[in-house]
Amino acid sequence: MAEKSAQPGSMERFINGILPENPVLRLVLGICPTLAVTSTVKGAVTMGLAATFVLFCSNFFVSLLKRFLQPHLRILVFTIIIAMFVTIVDMFLKAYVYEMSRQLGPYIPLIIVNCIIIARAEACASKSKLLPSLADALGMGLGFTLALCILATVREILADGTWLNMRVMWDSFTPWTIMKLAPGAFLTFGIVVGTNNFIRRKIEERKSSQP
């Protein structure tokens, strides 16, 4: 395992997940829930935290089990581990935040096929030690939550004039109903991805112009 020493450390992995390699904005993974649950900030935060929990637990177990993984059964084992924790999250949400669980509906079980979680199990947890893979899970999870919150903020403010159910727009503001529906989700995400590319390009240009 000598080649493993070249891998980035825990802290670097944690920070990487949040912005430089944000799973949603940079890698464009796991976009089904990203678009579906971001009509309200509350739903976005719940989904983000649920996915972070599943990611953390699955990375923990995959990292512990990495010696026993057979190449051809790998994906199946990942999926079963993930499905187990998603069932736990689903039951937890049903028991304690029933309203939220009803609002998110089948999108909670759909975390099982969220590509972020399988991608991190495959790319990081099955190759790294326990601590870096846990840091990676936290970073990626927070990055996912952050991206969801950005989208949900734009959509909720424009669609309802509220943020986390607090009124932020003026009283005569006409709600843009379309932002609550499917086209608004696609449009907002498209513009956020484009803007993110623009900002990154500007930062890199500034870096390269300075000696």
Partner: protein, 212 residues
């Protein structure tokens, strides 16, 4: 009765399109929509697997889990998601073996897409939405023919597959032409695809209201 079944099909394809209304299967939607023939192959493979998986999960959910629960009081509901994902993975394997043996030409066409389908959210989403749509047996609701409910679920599965095929082929056709247009640099790739999808979704909203 026929009209009702047709309506389920039409609703799944046009009104509640899995991609443009429920946001399911967006990864292949953005990833494999470069060429129309590739998109069509993916769509057909998804339709095939979806039809088999939807019927199998319906049978397991209603004829095993439901009867164990109502008849013997054994609640296996917590195993549902794990069973679903197992069934889907198994179906994909089976379909792959079946195609390789009996339809080698079709297998060559689907080949690369089939393993990807296991983690495609359209399939699991469809199996989960059968419950939301009320095509499952419900305790206390007697007198509804089991076969009728099954037919509804089956048609829903086929409709979702066709809806996915329609959406991904439309997008591939648009993207083939988009290659020749002058898109702002930062929006190239994913950005412009999502904005095109927004316009497509808006167009599909026009179908809402068909059939009441």
């Amino acid at each position: 009765m026929i009209a009702e079944l047709l309506l389920i099909l039409l609703t799944a394809v046009l009104i509640n399109n899995p991609v443009l209304y429920y946001f399911l299967g967006l990864c292949p939607y953005l990833g494999v929509s470069n060429k129309v023939d590739m998109a069509f192959g993916m769509g057909m493979a998804v339709t095939f697997v979806m039809t088999v998986a939807a019927s199998l999960t319906w049978v397991i959910n209603n004829l095993i889990i439901f009867y164990l629960n109502t008849g013997y009081g054994i609640d296996l509901g917590f195993l549902r998601y794990i069973i679903f994902i197992f069934v889907i993975a198994g179906t994909v394997q089976l379909v792959e073996m079946f195609l390789r043996k009996f339809f080698p030409s079709l297998y060559d066409r689907f080949g690369i897409f089939l393993p990807l389908i296991t983690t495609n959210c359209v399939i699991l989403g469809c199996c989960l939405w059968i419950d939301v749509k009320g095509y499952n047996l419900v305790a206390g609701q007697e007198g509804v023919a089991v076969s009728w409910k099954f037919l509804q679920a089956l048609l829903f599965g086929i409709g979702n597959g066709l809806g996915f095929t329609l959406a991904i082929c439309l997008m591939a056709g648009i993207r083939e032409r988009l290659n020749f247009s002058d898109v702002p640099r930062d929006f190239r790739g994913v950005g412009i695809t999502l904005i095109v999808a927004a316009i497509l979704a808006m167009a599909f909203m026009g179908f809402s209201g068909i059939g009441g």
